[in-house]
C-alpha cells in the first residue's frame, strides 16, 4: 500500500512555467485548453493572495488521528505519509489536508507526517467558516454538499446549517 501516491502531476505544470516564478504565466484562455480542472485549481490556489505559506521539516507530524483542525493545508511541494490504521500511502502537491474536516468540525481520520521538506499554503478554518456563513446561499450550498461528499456523510454538519 505504501506505493500509492496521490497528487497533481507537477512536472506538466513545471514544463509550462506555472511553478517557476520567472516563467510567463499562461493566460486564462491558454489554461482553459491546456490544464485539467484539478490542475487549474492547484495553479490558482498556489498563487492565491489570501493564503500564507508554511514550511515543515521532514518528520513533522501535521496531524495525528483524532486531532481537530484549526488550519487546513494545501501541499505545494514535498509529500506526506498518510497512516490510516494498517494502511499507509503518500500524498503530494495538490493534496488538501483537513479542510472539509475543519469546516465540519470533525476530527482527522488519519495521521499525516512530512516525508520530505514540505511547503504548504494555509487555510484558516475559523475564517473559512465565517466566509461560508456570509456568502450567498448558492455558494454556501455548494460548500455544504462538497464537504459532505468528501467526508462521506449524509447529515449536514452543524457548522454548515
Amino acid at each position: 500500500m505504501d506505493s500509492f501516491f496521490f497528487g497533481i502531476n507537477t512536472q506538466k505544470l513545471s514544463k509550462m512555467g506555472l511553478l517557476d516564478s520567472h516563467g510567463v504565466p499562461l493566460t486564462d484562455a491558454e489554461q482553459d485548453t491546456k490544464l485539467s480542472s484539478e490542475e487549474h485549481l492547484f495553479s490558482r490556489l498556489r498563487s492565491s493572495s489570501f493564503l500564507r505559506s508554511a514550511i515543515f521539516s521532514k518528520g513533522h507530524t501535521l496531524f495525528s488521528q483524532g486531532d481537530m483542525v484549526e488550519e487546513a493545508h494545501v501541499i505545494f511541494q514535498g509529500q506526506v505519509r498518510v497512516i490510516a490504521g494498517d494502511t499507509s500511502f503518500y500524498m503530494g502537491p495538490g493534496a488538501v489536508i483537513g479542510l472539509a474536516e475543519g469546516i465540519a468540525d470533525v476530527p482527522m481520520r488519519w495521521t499525516l507526517q512530512a516525508e520530505t521538506l514540505l511547503n504548504t499554503r494555509i487555510i484558516p478554518i475559523k475564517r473559512a467558516i465565517e466566509e461560508i456563513r456570509t456568502t450567498d446561499a448558492g455558494l454556501r450550498s455548494i460548500c455544504r454538499v462538497t464537504v459532505m461528499r468528501t467526508l462521506g456523510v449524509d447529515q449536514t454538519p452543524e457548522s454548515l446549517r
Binding site: S37, E38, S48, T87, A100, E131, G138, L139
Partner: protein
C-alpha cells in the same frame, strides 16, 4: 448567483436526472421539489434533497462520473450549471471564499481518487 444566467429545467416526479456512472457535466441547484440519490444495484438510499440544496458536484472535476443515481421524487425545477459556468462563479469571488471553494473541490478530487484506489478505507 442569479438564475437569469443559467438554464432552468423542469422534471416530473419519477424522472431520472442522471444514473451512476454517467459522465458528469452539470451541477444542479433545486428551486422547487425533491430528489433522492440512490446507489445501485441495491438502490441504497443516500439522501433526499430539497429547495436550496445542490448536487452533482462531480461536474467540476475532469472526467467526473456520477457516483449515484438521481430520481425526482416530486415535480422539480432546477437551475443547471455547467462545469465552466460554475468555475466562472468561483473565479469571480474576491474573498477567502474563492480558495475555500477551490480547496474543497481539490480535496474532493483527491478523496475520490483515494477511495477508488484503496476501497478498504471506505469502511
Amino acid at each position: 448567483m442569479s438564475e437569469a444566467y443559467f438554464p432552468i429545467q423542469s422534471y416530473k416526479a419519477g424522472d431520472v436526472l442522471f444514473s451512476r456512472g454517467d459522465a458528469a457535466h452539470t451541477f444542479y441547484m433545486i428551486e422547487s421539489g425533491e430528489v433522492d440519490l440512490f446507489v445501485p444495484p441495491a438502490n441504497t438510499f443516500l439522501v433526499r434533497l430539497g429547495p436550496g440544496e445542490a448536487f452533482g458536484e462531480q461536474a467540476i472535476l475532469t472526467g467526473g462520473v456520477r457516483g449515484a443515481t438521481a430520481i425526482a421524487m416530486t415535480d422539480m425545477v432546477c437551475i443547471q450549471m455547467t462545469a465552466e459556468s460554475l468555475q466562472e462563479i468561483v473565479q469571480s469571488q474576491t474573498s477567502l471564499i474563492r480558495p475555500v471553494l477551490e480547496g474543497l473541490f481539490l480535496q474532493l478530487y483527491l478523496q475520490n481518487s483515494i477511495r477508488s484506489a484503496i476501497p478498504e478505507l471506505n469502511s
